[in-house]
Amino acid sequence: MKVLNIIESAYRATTEEQDDTIVWLSHTLKAAGADLGVLLRGNAVNYAVRGQDAAGLAFGAWRQTQPPRLANDIAALPTKGGPVYVLSEDLAERGLEAGDLVPGLERVARDGLPGLFAAHDQVWHW
């Protein structure tokens, strides 16, 4: 079974979780043998941006030592098998260009979505 995981919601509880929970889930599912592609759309396209830095948060004496490193997590996904797609129009709307992003991603435009969906048995939108 080939699944396309669409990630749209972005920066939801990423500080507390120290991860994006669906990017993390995608890694875990791949480790469990899932044939999984990932599509970043909406605000989640920003996860592919280089230079994100959430380090340094402190609450009283408590200091966060493992901030989320979302771009790293996105860049690592293709190395585990299965592509990471990013929706072109959503990048453009957010003023993002190829040079702003981590390498290894495949751009897809909205008119490519029917074909992309057809290539997967199921489409899961998180």
Binding site: I6, E8, G42, L113, P114, G115, F117, A118, V123, H125
Partner: protein
């Protein structure tokens, strides 16, 4: 030809992303698929007759089946016979029917 079920739960007055769901539905239909948009929860606030157009009539004209959860309508006092053109009330059972038939189901 595949069957797609897009479940639209978002309120078009609150979420600009409802337009993405509509655009996707139209593209999938143009590509020759059977497409149903099932509107639920606050998504039905956009199907009341007289409301600012949320594009559902246009979707129906493009060959997309547009259904609205009858409970969500009743919960919000939206009369089932006073909906935007092209929108039909439906029990939620239809979602299970389509899942059982193997439709690719996408919750939005």
């Amino acid at each position: 030809m595949a069957s797609y079920l897009l479940i639209e739960s978002r309120d078009p007055f609150e979420s600009a992303d409802v337009a993405f769901c509509h655009d996707l539905a139209r593209r999938l239909a143009v590509a020759g698929n059977r497409v149903t948009v099932f509107v639920v929860q606050n998504g039905v606030l956009g199907v009341r007759a007289g409301a600012r157009s949320s594009g559902y009539a246009e979707l129906a004209q493009a060959g997309v089946e547009v259904l609205a959860d009858d409970f969500s309508l009743r919960e919000r006092g939206i009369a089932a016979d006073k909906l935007q053109p092209g929108v039909t009330p439906s029990p939620l059972d239809l979602v299970i029917d389509r899942l059982a038939e193997g439709a690719k189901a996408i919750w939005h």
